[in-house]
Every structure is written in C-alpha cells, then in structure tokens.
C-alpha cells in the first residue's frame, strides 16, 4: 500500500510553475493554514524522513497519528536491525515553543518571515493529493526550503530543507495519509506567540550563564530554559531560522573524554570537538569551563557555522596554569577561606 502510494502518485517535484513575481510573500498565509491544519485536523499516515549529515544520509519511516486537542503519536516501525519505537508528543500548539516542524508555531513563522521571502511558487502533487508549493528564499533568491501543502485539507504533505549549495539536507513527506473525516468540533486555537522574555534571559544570565542571541545561518534564539541533569545543572537553548532547529545544551565542568564511547574526535581550529554520526549531528566539546552539546535538524553547513560561533576557548596556557596554582596555594594558606 505504502509502496503503491509512492510509485503511483505523481512525482512530488512535478511543479507547475507560476509567475515567480506573484509569489513574493504570498506563501506565508498558506504556511499559517498548514500549521493550523496540523493541529486541528485528525489524520493517520506514514512519513519518510531523510537527513543528510556529516556521516552520510539517514532515513526512517514514521507512523503518525494525530488527534486534535490530544497531540500526536509518532512510531518508528520495526526494521530488520532495530525494534519499534514510540514517542508521545504533546500538542505542538499547546506546549512546544517551536510547534514542531510539521506544525510550526506563529513564532517560528515570524522568524521564517524575517529571514526568508516566502513565496507561493506553484502546484504539485504528493501521494496523489493536489498541493500548493511554497518556497522560502534567501536574499540571493536561492531556495532554502520547499513545502507541499494539501489543497483540500491544508495539511503539510512534504517538506525539504536545502543547504546553501543547493543540496537537499533534510526531507520529510507523507507516503500514506488518511484524513479523519470529522474535523475537530472545537477548533484548537494555536497558542499565541510569546517572544522570549528579556527578563527570562536576564534571569539566566544572572545565574552565570552566557549565550549569544543569534548564531550564523540566521539562527535566532527562540527558547531558553535551565534544568537539572544527574551530572548537574544545564542550560537548554533553542535556535531556529524558521526552517531548522538547533539545540545547544551547556553544562559546567570538565569534559570526561575517556567516557565518550562511540564518539570520534575532530580538530576545529586549535581544539578538539567530538562528533557522532547521528541524524541530529551530535557534537560535544569543552571550552572555558563549560561543556557544549549541539543537536540539530539543520543543514550541515549551518551546523558547522553555528558550532564555530559558539565559545571555543583554548586550554589554559603556562601563565594561566601558574596563576591558577598560585591561587590554590593562597587558598590553602588563607585561614578565611
């Protein structure tokens, strides 16, 4: 059934072009409709998700069941090498700052509209369903993302993220979709976008955390929270350009590299970073008494630029080591400490 849907349906890239001049910023209402439909419509389907990262491509199938007002259930079917997994996700519009990539929040759409021109560029078809194609364009006119939006239900059927060199970095599309005939009687209203409060940021900075408000690749900080892990407190920063999400986790302490199993080291300028070839392009490094962990659903070049922009202080030099030793000796003999 799934394969039949894949091969019988019209190619997703079968774009019927329209006048590009008419598409300037005309795609944003379509994306807003898609975001609302992603919350308000009930549906069940199967998506494929493919990412191209440092270690090549990774693909998986995801079974999605969405019930308006209750949220989505995401399940990855069992394959020959891995068992079935399941994630119970909250209603994106209720709790998640980003709203998820399938039903972006108003905040994400605002960030998207600030960073890209969103154009309605034509019509296409996904899984046998007629759709409108919306393209997010960079300032130089190149495409950064394409969205296929179902004409009948406004659901987002396919999504592609394109890196700066024109290659697809991430793709997700329904290969099977069944719409719940009865739409939600009580339409779920999307949570109004609440910008990240400056008082919240000031509170975190008063706790000793330091972090940038923006990162290269048009990434803006849209969520920040601190938490407590078994190894100590941490800071969770979420950056997005409206298309991709990059999470930065910051901890205090010294990275115990001897216990990093399954990671391999790379040189970045004058210091070492540890990477793991996962779909989320996991990266860990230490700098300035902090440990940084980056996970991203973003093009590789965007991830690399963001990692380079985050703090990478070199290891302490001879003078720093002497000063630290002197400070410790003073602390030992100081009866008031």
């Amino acid at each position: 059934m799934v394969l039949l849907c894949l091969f019988v349906s019209n190619p997703a890239h079968a774009v019927v072009p329209v006048d590009p001049g008419e598409g300037e910023d005309t795609g944003l209402p379509l994306l807003r409709s898609a975001a609302g439909a992603g919350r308000d419509r009930g549906y069940t389907g199967v998506q494929f998700v493919t990412s191209w990262g440092r270690g090549g491509s990774r693909a998986s199938l995801v079974e999605i069941t969405h019930v308006p007002g209750r949220g989505s259930t995401l399940r990855t079917p069992a394959t020959g090498t891995s068992g079935s997994t399941e994630v119970l996700a909250a209603d994106p519009g209720d709790q998640l700052p980003s709203g998820g990539l399938t039903a972006p929040s108003e905040g994400m759409l605002d960030i998207l509209s600030r960073n890209y021109r969103v154009a309605d560029v034509g019509r296409g078809s996904v899984c046998g369903r007629a759709s409108r194609i919306v393209e997010a364009r960079r300032g130089d006119g190149t495409a950064a993302a394409r969205f296929w939006i179902d004409e009948k239900t406004s659901l987002l059927l396919r999504r592609e993220i394109i890196d700066s060199s024109g290659r697809i970095a991430h793709a997700g599309a329904f290969i099977d979709l069944r719409i719940d005939g009865t739409a939600a009687k009580n339409i779920v209203v999307a949570t109004p976008f609440t910008p990240l409060e400056t008082t919240r940021l000031a509170d975190l900075r008063n706790k000793g955390w330091s972090f940038p408000g923006t990162l290269p690749g048009r990434l803006e900080l849209f969520a920040a929270a601190d938490g407590l892990a078994p190894s100590g407190p941490y800071l969770h920063l979420s950056y997005s350009d409206g298309l991709s999400v990059l999470s930065v986790f910051v901890q205090r302490g010294r990275l115990d590299e001897s216990r990093l199993v399954g990671w391999h080291s790379q040189r970045l300028r004058d210091h070492t970073i540890w990477v793991r070839n996962a779909a989320t392009q996991e990266t860990v490094w230490a700098g300035g008494g902090h440990i940084y962990t980056v996970l991203a659903n973003a093009p590789g070049d965007t991830v690399d630029a963001a990692i380079q922009a985050l703090p990478h202080e070199p290891p302490p030099g001879v003078w720093d080591q002497l000063v630290r030793g002197f400070g410790r000796v003073v602390a030992w003999v100081n009866p008031f400490e």
């Binding site: 995401l74 980003s98 990539l101 999470s247 996962a278 996991e282 440990i291 302490p316 030793g325």
Partner: protein, 171 residues
C-alpha cells in the same frame, strides 16, 4: 660591737637605717679608731665635693662626634648575600684603604665563586617554586562530566517532533 668597717662610708652617706645608725653612733662614742676613720673619710669627701668640675677637651668631643657621622670607621662585617645590594641599608663605609683595620686576606676569585653559588641556588629555588605552582595549577580538580546526550536528544526531538532514533521501546 665590732668596728664599723665598711659601714663608715654608709654612715657618712646617710645610707644606714635608723637602728643601724643609732648603733653606729653608740660605737663611735666609745671607739676612737672608728671616730678617727669617720672624720678622715668625711674630710676626704668634702674635699672631693669642693673640687671645680673639669671640662672635656674640645678635640676629644669632636672625635667622639665624628664617630657617629656617616662614613665613620665601622668595622666591616660579613654579608650573607653580598650580591643582593639594596636589600639592606646603604653601605656608607669608607673605602677599604681608609678603614682602621687592614683588609682581610681573600682568596683570588673567592667572592665571584660565592656569588655564582648564590645565583645558582636562587635560580634553582625559583625553578622549584614555579614548577610546583605549575603542577598545582595543572591539576584540574573539577569533576569530569559526560553530557547526558540521550536525554538532550529527547528534548531536542520533542522540539522538532521527528523521532529518528530510539526513544523508548514500544509496548
């Protein structure tokens, strides 16, 4: 009572107590020798007291004052760290030729060797101190941390709502 002896002088100077003085006077009333001795000693003291004060010669005074001036002939002393000039008070001694004592006989090059030894000891001490500070400062006492990447990954996946790897086994 025996003769006054050494108490004669104390009697003349009025240093005897009341009882002792009464006994001494009673003895003098019957002892001619002691009375004569007291008279002689009293007469001597009176003569000394009546002498005019003798002035100090001016040249002796000036000589004594010059001894307190800078550059005076202070005898040389051995310095523990001769290379560390400026650490102690300024050396105002005159040249060795003007010293009262003859210059001590020293081995040729002995001072230089001692100075080299002092410098070597100082350098070694500084090296040991710096090495100790470097070693102490190089030991990172902060506990090693391994990020809970799986927990972070779950938080990240929720924010993008795209499970790509195992989160929890399905029932």
């Amino acid at each position: 009572m025996s003769h006054l002896g050494e108490r004669v002088s104390a009697l003349i100077d009025g240093e005897l107590g009341h009882t002792e003085r009464e006994k001494a006077f009673a003895h003098l009333a019957g002892c001619d020798d002691c009375r004569a001795e007291v008279d002689a000693l009293r007469s001597l003291k009176n003569r000394l007291r009546s002498l005019a004060p003798t002035g100090i010669p001016a040249d002796l005074t000036m000589s004594l004052l010059r001894m307190g001036e800078p550059g005076g002939p202070i005898p040389p002393r051995a310095r523990p760290l001769p290379s560390l000039r400026g650490y102690g008070p300024a050396d105002n001694r005159p040249p060795r030729a003007a010293a009262f004592t003859a210059p001590a006989k020293r081995k040729p090059g002995g001072g230089r060797a001692r100075r080299v030894r002092y410098v070597a000891v100082g350098v070694a001490s500084a090296a040991v101190a710096l090495g100790t500070l470097f070693a102490i400062g190089g030991v990172d006492n902060t506990p090693g941390v391994v990020p809970p990447v799986e927990m972070f990954a779950n938080q990240h996946k929720i924010s993008v709502q795209e499970p790509a790897t195992t989160v929890r086994p399905a029932p």
